[in-house]
C-alpha cells in the first residue's frame, strides 16, 4: 500500500485557532510531522500608526493589541512614554493602575482557561468564567466607561478617579471569585481525562523555552522563575508581597496550573493594594514642558498637557503583562510624535514555540498545547 503525507491547512478560519491564525501541518495520518505557523492575517500596522499619532493619541491603539487584557497594554506604553519624558506619577494613580491591571490579569486568565477547556471539548468552564468576567467588566465600565478597550491609563496618571462604591464592589467580586475558583478547580483539576490530555503534552524544557523567548506563565510553567514584576520591579510592586508562580514540568498541565495559581496571587495583590490605597491626586500636575497645551482640560481632570514633546532619545520599557513580557521601544526625535514605536508582544514570541512543542504529537495535542500558550491574534499580528 502506498502512503502519502497529508498537508492540512488548519485555519485561518477554524474554531480553535483563537482568531485568524493558520497552521500549515505536514501530517502522517494524525501525527504532526511538521508544523508551520502562518500569521499576519490581522496585521493592522499598529507600529507604523505609532509614528503617525501624538503620544496621547496612540494609547487607544494599544488597547487593540491584546484586547482580552487591554489595561496592561495601556500601561506598558504609558510607562515607556513616562520614562522617555521623565514624568512623575502620583502615588494614588500608581495604586489604581496596579489594582486595575491585576484585575485584568485575572480576567485574562479566566478567559484563557475557559477557552483552553473549550478547545478540549468541555464548554462549561468558559460559561462559568464569563459569568465572573462579566462582573469584572462591569467594574471596568464603572471606572472608565469601556468594557474591553479602556484608554484609561495616560501619561502622568489615570483618566478618572475611582467612582463611588467601587472598592466595596470590587471586594464583593473578589470574595465571589475565591468561591468560584474552588468550583473551577473541582471541575477541572482532578479530572482524569483532563490529566490524560494535558500531562506530558507540549513539553518544552527550561533551556528551550528561554531560547524560544517564551515569557509569562508559559515560561514559568517550565520552571524558570522569571517575572518582570520581581526582576525589574516597577510601579508599586516592590512594596507588595507576592510570589512568582512556577511549575517545573514544562508541559501543558503545568502551564494551566501556573495560571490558576496566578489568579490566586493576583487576588492577594488586589487585597493588599485595596487595603493601602492612598488618597491624593490621580494625575501629576507638574509642568512638563513642553509644547503649549491645546484645548481646555476637562473639569474633573487635573492639568496635564495633551500634546508634549519629550527630548530626543530612546527608551525600552517592559512589564509583565498577563501573557508575558510586553515591551515598548520608543524613539523620540524631539517632536510631538514618536519617531519609531516597536512592540515586543508576548503572544508573538510565545507562539513561535508551538512547532517545537507539537513535533510528533497529534492534532488534539496541538489544540491543547496551543490553548495553554494563550495567544491573542491582535497581539500576534499587531
Amino acid at each position: 500500500m502506498e502512503t502519502d503525507e497529508l498537508i492540512l491547512n488548519m485555519g485561518p478560519v477554524h474554531p480553535s485557532t483563537h482568531g485568524v491564525l493558520r497552521f500549515r501541518l505536514r501530517m502522517d495520518g494524525e501525527i504532526i510531522k511538521n508544523c508551520e505557523i502562518v500569521m499576519g492575517y490581522l496585521h493592522r500596522g499598529t507600529e507604523k500608526l505609532g509614528e503617525m499619532k501624538t503620544y496621547l493619541q496612540f494609547i487607544p491603539y494599544t488597547d487593540r493589541l491584546d484586547y482580552i487584557s487591554a489595561m496592561p497594554n495601556n500601561y506598558a506604553y504609558v510607562k515607556a512614554v513616562e520614562e522617555l519624558a521623565g514624568i512623575e506619577v502620583p502615588q494614588r494613580a500608581e495604586y489604581i493602575r496596579v489594582m486595575i491591571m491585576e484585575l485584568n490579569r485575572i480576567v485574562n486568565h479566566i478567559v484563557s482557561i475557559g477557552s483552553l477547556l473549550m478547545d478540549l471539548g468541555a464548554a462549561t468552564m468558559i460559561m462559568w468564567g464569563f459569568r465572573e468576567r462579566e462582573t469584572a467588566l462591569q467594574l471596568f465600565e464603572q471606572l472608565c466607561g469601556a468594557r474591553m478597550t479602556f484608554n484609561y491609563i495616560k501619561p502622568g496618571g489615570v483618566r478618572e478617579d475611582l467612582p463611588e462604591g467601587f472598592i466595596p464592589k470590587l471586594r464583593e467580586w473578589m470574595k465571589d471569585m475565591e468561591k468560584r475558583l474552588v468550583d473551577y478547580e473541582q471541575l477541572i483539576n482532578d479530572n482524569e481525562i483532563f490529566h490524560m490530555r494535558m500531562k506530558d503534552i507540549g513539553t518544552i524544557s527550561a533551556q528551550e523555552a528561554i531560547n524560544y523567548g517564551l515569557t509569562g506563565p508559559s515560561l514559568r510553567g517550565s520552571g524558570v522563575d522569571y517575572d518582570m514584576r520581581k526582576i525589574e520591579p516597577y510601579s508599586i510592586y516592590p512594596d507588595i508581597d507576592f510570589k512568582a508562580c512556577t511549575r517545573p514540568e514544562g508541559d501543558s498541565y503545568a502551564r494551566y496550573i501556573v495560571r490558576i495559581d496566578e489568579i490566586k496571587e493576583s487576588l492577594q495583590i488586589l487585597r493588599q493594594v485595596i487595603d493601602s490605597m492612598p488618597e491624593g491626586k490621580i494625575v501629576s500636575n507638574a509642568k512638563y514642558g513642553i509644547a503649549p497645551m491645546t484645548g481646555s482640560p476637562s473639569s474633573v481632570m487635573t492639568y496635564f498637557p495633551r500634546i508634549f514633546t519629550p527630548h530626543a532619545g530612546e527608551v525600552y520599557s517592559r512589564i509583565e503583562a498577563p501573557k508575558g513580557e510586553l515591551g515598548f521601544y520608543i524613539v523620540s526625535d524631539g517632536t510631538t510624535k514618536p519617531y519609531r514605536v516597536k512592540i515586543r508582544s508576548p503572544s508573538f514570541c510565545n507562539l513561535t514555540a508551538i512547532p517545537k512543542m507539537v513535533q510528533g504529537l497529534r492534532i488534539p495535542d496541538l489544540i491543547a498545547a496551543f490553548g495553554t500558550i494563550d495567544v491573542v491574534l491582535g497581539d500576534v499580528d499587531r
Partner: protein
C-alpha cells in the same frame, strides 16, 4: 399479556367492537393480509412519529440541560420556555441552501444522510417500550440491535469520503475505528445478560427482570452485573459518539468532523440521527440493565400505560446522565480511547463473561 403491539391493537379494536366487522369486509374480498399490512403500517407510523417527536424534544432538552449546568437560560423565546425551538430549527434548516461541494461525490454525498438515519430508527423495532408495546418480538432481538447499529459507521465513512474534505475524512476514519473497537466490549457486556436469560429476545430479557429480591431490591441485571453495566454504558456512549468520545465531530479539532461539508436538511438528518441514536441506546441500556419497563403496578391503570411511563422515566434518566457527562468532562484523544477500548475494556469484559459463566454454571445466580 400480548405478544406484540399488533395483538394489542387487535384486542383494542375487538373491545371497541369494530374489529370483527372490518375483518369480515376484508375476508369477503379475500384480502385479509391487507388488513394485517395496514395495522402494521399504523404501528410503524405511530412509532416513527413518536421517535421524531422524542428527537425534537431531546434537542431542546440537551440545550436546557447544558444551559442549566452552565448558568444560562438556553432557548426561551420560541414557545413556552423555548419548547418550540426545535420546530423553528427545522424550518430554518429546510430553508437553507443545500450545498454539494464541487469535488464531492454527488451520489454518495446525498445518500449518506439517509443511510445514517434509517438504522437509527430500525433499532426501535424490537425494543419493548412497555408491556406488549413492541413492534416485533424477534427471538434474536439483541443481535439484531447490535447488527443494525453497526451500519452507521458505514454511513459516516461514506459521508466523510464523499465530502472530499480532509477534516471529514479524518472524522470518518476516527468514527470507524471507534465504532469497531467499541462494538466488541458492548456485545461482550450484553452477552453476560444473555447468559442469565438464555434468550436474545428483548422481551424475554425484560420479563426476566420482573419481581424483587427480599421484596425490596428489584431484580434488575444492574445488581447482578455492575461491572457489565459500567462497561456497557461507557461503550454505548462511545457508540453514540458523545463527549467524552465525540471524535467523529470534535468541533475544536476537525471543525465538524464527517459532516463539515453538509448543510440544510442533510445536516439536519445527521443531527436527528444522533439524537435518535441517543434515545435508542439509552432505551437499550434501560432494557438490559435497569429492568426495562418493570415497575410497581398501579391499580386501575392498565399495565401498558404504567410500563410505558416507567420505561420513559428510566430512559430519560440515562439520557440526562449522558447530557450531564457531556457538560462535565473534556474530550479524550482518539488513541487514548482506542487504548482504553482494546487494552482495558475488552479484557475486563472477557473476565466479566468468564466469572458470570462460572457462576451461572455453578447455579449460584
Amino acid at each position: 399479556m400480548f405478544e406484540n403491539a399488533y395483538e394489542l391493537i387487535v384486542y383494542i379494536m375487538t373491545a371497541l367492537g369494530i374489529y370483527d366487522s372490518i375483518f369480515r369486509v376484508f375476508e369477503v374480498l379475500g384480502i385479509e393480509y391487507v388488513l394485517r399490512i395496514i395495522i402494521v403500517f399504523v404501528e410503524i407510523v405511530v412509532l416513527f412519529a413518536f421517535a421524531l417527536v422524542t428527537i425534537m424534544f431531546l434537542t431542546w432538552m440537551e440545550r436546557k440541560v447544558v444551559a442549566m449546568v452552565q448558568a444560562r437560560y438556553g432557548p426561551m423565546v420560541t414557545g413556552p420556555r423555548g419548547l418550540l425551538q426545535p420546530v423553528m430549527d427545522g424550518v430554518k434548516l429546510i430553508g437553507k441552501e443545500d450545498i454539494i461541494p464541487d469535488k464531492a461525490d454527488r451520489w454518495v454525498f446525498t445518500l449518506a444522510p439517509f443511510i445514517i438515519f434509517i438504522p437509527a430508527l430500525l433499532v426501535f423495532i424490537p425494543l419493548p417500550f412497555g408491556d406488549s408495546l413492541v413492534i416485533s418480538n424477534f427471538k434474536i432481538g439483541l443481535l439484531y440491535i447490535i447488527a443494525v447499529s453497526a451500519i452507521s459507521p458505514i454511513a459516516i465513512l461514506l459521508a466523510g469520503w464523499a465530502s472530499n474534505n480532509k477534516y471529514s475524512l479524518m472524522g470518518a476514519m476516527r468514527a470507524v475505528a471507534q465504532d469497531i473497537s467499541y462494538t466488541i466490549p458492548l456485545a461482550l457486556a450484553a452477552i453476560a445478560i444473555v447468559m442469565f436469560t438464555g434468550s436474545l429476545s428483548m422481551v424475554d430479557i425484560v420479563t426476566a427482570q420482573g419481581g424483587t429480591w427480599f421484596g425490596v431490591i428489584p431484580k434488575w441485571f444492574i445488581f447482578l452485573q455492575p461491572l457489565g453495566f459500567i462497561l456497557f454504558l461507557i461503550a454505548s456512549i462511545a457508540e453514540m459518539g458523545r463527549i467524552p468520545f465525540d471524535f467523529q465531530e470534535s468541533e475544536s479539532e476537525l471543525v465538524a468532523g464527517f459532516f463539515t461539508e453538509y448543510s440544510g436538511m442533510k445536516f439536519a438528518m445527521f443531527f436527528l440521527a444522533e439524537y435518535a441514536h441517543l434515545f435508542a441506546v439509552s432505551g437499550i441500556v434501560v432494557t438490559l440493565f435497569l429492568g426495562g419497563w418493570n415497575g410497581p403496578a398501579v391499580p386501575f391503570i392498565p399495565v401498558q400505560i404504567t410500563s410505558l411511563v416507567y420505561f420513559l422515566i428510566k430512559t430519560y434518566a440515562v439520557i440526562f446522565f449522558a447530557m450531564w457527562l457531556r457538560d462535565t468532562v473534556p474530550r479524550m484523544r482518539i488513541d487514548q480511547l482506542l487504548g482504553l477500548g482494546w487494552k482495558v475494556m475488552v479484557p475486563v469484559a472477557l473476565l466479566n463473561l468468564l466469572v458470570t459463566g462460572l457462576l451461572v454454571t455453578a447455579g449460584v445466580i
